[in-house]
Every structure is written in structure tokens, then in C-alpha cells.
Symmetry: C2
Subunit: 294 residues, 2 copies
Amino acid sequence: MIIDALSEKIIERQNPTCVGLDTSPEYVGAYRGDPAAAVYRFNRNVVDAVFDVVPAVKVQIAYYEALGRGGVECFFDTCAYAKARGLFVIADCKRNDIGATAAQYAKAFLEGRGGENIDLITINGYLGSDGVLPFVEAAKANDKGVFVLVKTSNPSSGELQDLKLADGRTVYECMGDMVETWGGDSVGKYGYSRVGAVVGATYPEEAKILRARMPHSFFLIPGYGAQGGNAAMLKHCFKAGGMGGIVNNSRGILCAHKTSDKWKDVPSPERYAAREAALKMKADLLSVLGEIHA
Amino acid sequence: MIIDALSEKIIERQNPTCVGLDTSPEYVGAYRGDPAAAVYRFNRNVVDAVFDVVPAVKVQIAYYEALGRGGVECFFDTCAYAKARGLFVIADCKRNDIGATAAQYAKAFLEGRGGENIDLITINGYLGSDGVLPFVEAAKANDKGVFVLVKTSNPSSGELQDLKLADGRTVYECMGDMVETWGGDSVGKYGYSRVGAVVGATYPEEAKILRARMPHSFFLIPGYGAQGGNAAMLKHCFKAGGMGGIVNNSRGILCAHKTSDKWKDVPSPERYAAREAALKMKADLLSVLGEIHA
């Protein structure tokens, strides 16, 4: 089961880090020719730098759609390359729609060609069960997983998500409860279902509430690094033994070569800087989580 | 201003209908070769059949992403063809993310290559202002528009959207209030802003509430036809003179050739059936709305 396998990889690597391949051409440095080709080369270098350090990558499709012609191919090629190097691949696409249309998105990302190299996707649950279950069904049929947005890492996430409901819950707690329901019949041997949640590192109090409320949900945790989340803040996203979550870092790893003069005369410095940043992040997370074990 | 121009086209055509090009290869009938090419041919036939009857098309990107390689190109080619025939083009992509990533999606669909042939897009506001405003800013800079999901047409939309908040509002009313705020500084001459709302035809009571609460928001209204909405139900989505909204119909027009034996021996029957269905829908809407006027 996908979340069991991901959990085992995290234990093996002693590293609950996901490298976010939100690759803007601006991060790539000087290049000639097609931006999609340049982004793909850069991504391969980053994957080569981290493939034996981290268990997973998260590929943010918006950056690829913004490349124009060839961008979506670059997204799928990046997923394929990361998969071929043994990494779990999370497609961060936050798709959502009514049932029949959600089934088309599931087909695009969890089945057939898309599903070949994608293990998990992010989705948005604003439409309720019938917009979510087509993804869950496709995930079950193909041993994939989904992460539903619950409490997002951005500054204004509370405008809707933190609102109090008449029944005393917040909107994000309600979404969290629905996620537990959607995943209820697919809990793996470590206690987590294939329907997980996106819970931002930037909101530790809310994460603590959700961690207690969602015992069977594996968390995808954005917001570490550039967005302001640190290891101490996100420890509440994990259960005992440092299990039950994976922390994304995009710019902190992708742009590591831009943060120090020591890389300035090195060709393709991301080949080295990304690894150094990933190792530093691993040490930072482990300093708070301790040894990761089932 | 885009919503003024769309409103004028609706008045000129006396038809607040949007044809949904949610084209599954299954709708296309027998074809040889590439499904994306077959879908594109079919879409051109439908556009040719309706371009002088309706003001707009809505192209649902999920169906194109599900086509695999070449699918997204088919989406953009379809947008380009509809635009070239004088139609307003709504990209139904329901994108959403944190600010920096939302800006990438805005680049993909409202600026540069994507923006060339797209007038309006749908987005999901679960992340709050900083996930929405990059789309709004791109829309302002390029005279485009956005539709934010408020009350969706699907059966389970109420699971989250209908929940009562502690302040007495529902979640969908809260989202509607935010939409009015996001669009507040871009109201055109007919009183509608470039930040509109998706409000399902299938929920007339909720539509009535939202229409009163969101005086400056233009509504994109899904759910007519196959999903169960009819003209009487959706009249509450409109303001005086039949203004302030556009009704989408996808399967009812795309699959019209499958509903009668009279098309069974006609080659490319969608060339005729789609027009007949669009004219019938126009008459149906006008029977309830009366003459559309500013």
C-alpha cells in the first residue's frame, strides 16, 4: 500500500523530506533555447543530487503549465525521471471538480500514462464527497494516494479555513473530519490511509489540533523554509516516532545555489547545492523528531 | 472591460448560454488515430454549429488532460478556434494555490500564450485572498475575468458549502462575500465586476440568496440539463432584464446527436444536433427570462 511503502522509505532514509520541484526558469540560471528543456535539465540535476537522501519529490504543475507549449510534457518527464531514480512522486495539482470531471482528472494523474510515474496527488475538497471520491476510487484501484487541502500554509488560509462553524468546529477541522471519513476504509499497516491531508508547517497550533483529530491521515506539510516554517513548528504534524508526515521544501533546496557565493563559479551548481541543502534539512528535522521508527 | 463586452454579446445574441466543451472521446463517435485530434475535429464542428447562436464556450480542461500526450495542446487549440470564431472563451480549470504558485497559474491561463485565447477562468477560493488575488491582478492587467467557486452544482456541494458559520452565514455566503470584495474595485458599466462566481443552477434557493447578496458579481451557472437544472430553477441567478449571468450546458449540446435516431446515419451529426440543441436551450431560457436588456 502506497502510504506504507512511503513510510518505509522515510524510515530507511531517516528523512521525512520531500523536495519540491516548483522550478521556475528564473531559478535555472542562464540558458539558451527552450525554457521547458532548461527546466527539465535542471530538475534532473536536482533529482540526481538528492535521490539517495530524500524519499520523495513534489512536482508543482503550475510552474510547468506556465512554461507554455511543452510545459506539461516537461512536468510528466520530470515525474518519470524522479520515479526512475526510485523516488516517490507527488503531483501537486490541487485538482477539483464535480464527479464526472473529477474522474477525468483522476484519469489524467492517477491512471494510464499519468499514473505511471505519479504516486500521490493533491486535491481540493471544496466540492465535497462526490468531487473527491473519484480520486479516492482511482487511488484505490491503482495503489496511489491523495492529499486533500485541509489547512494550507499561506498567510490568508484562515480567511475561510479558520472560520468557526455553528457546531463549534472550524472549517479546517470539518475538512479534516471529512478526510478521515474518505480514507476510513483504506488504512495501511502503519495506521495511515491513502487519503492524506495538506497541513501547513506555518500553523503549528492548528497542526496540533489536526494531528490529534486525524489519527489515520498522513500529512503533506508545506511551508518549511522560504514560507517561514521551521522544524520546531512542524513537530506537531508528526505522530510518535516521527511518523505520519512528510515535509516539503521547494525554494530552500531548488534555489540553494543562489544563497552563497561559493557556488557562483560552479557550472550547474544545483548538482551540489541541492544535496547540501537537503542534508541540512534532514539534520534539522531529525534534531526535533529524533530517530524515525514505526 | 471583459464583463461589459460579454454582457453586450449576450444582449446582441439574446442568449445567455455557454456551450461546455467537456469533450470526452466517448462523445465523438468512431474515429481512427489520435484521440486528441478526434476531439479537436469534433470541437470545431460544435463551434461551427453554434458560433452565431451563443456568446461563449467553456472548455473544461480535465477532459483534455485525460487525453494524455497532446491533450493540453488540444485544449489550447480548441480555445483558439472558438476565439477565432468570435466566441468568449472560459477556461474551466478551477486552479488554486498559494500566492507565488497562483501567479504561475495566472501566467499559464491569463497571460502570454494562454491568455491569447482565453477570456475568463474558473478558480477555487479555499486558500483565501492571497491565493485569489494573483488571478485578479492578472485579470486586471490583461482585461480578463475570473469566476470563483461559490455554490457548486454537484449533489454533495453542501457538505462544506452549506455549513452554518457561528456568525450566521453559510460557508457559501462567506465565499460570496469575499468574491464581492475581490471584485469591488473593478465594476464595469453594467454593474458587474471582473471577479464573478460559479453558482449552480441546481440550487435555486441558494442562488436567490447569492443573487441578492452579490449585486456586483456576474454568475457562471453550471448544472442546466444533464445535471438536473432547468430554466425555471435558474431564473433566480439573474438580475433584472436577464442580466448578470451565463448558463453552461455541456452534455446537453455536445451529446445532442446521441439523443435521437434522426442523427444516426448523418456523418458528423454534431454539426447539426448541437445547433438545434443550442437554439432549443435559448428558447427555453428566454421563455423564463424574457427579453434580455441592460
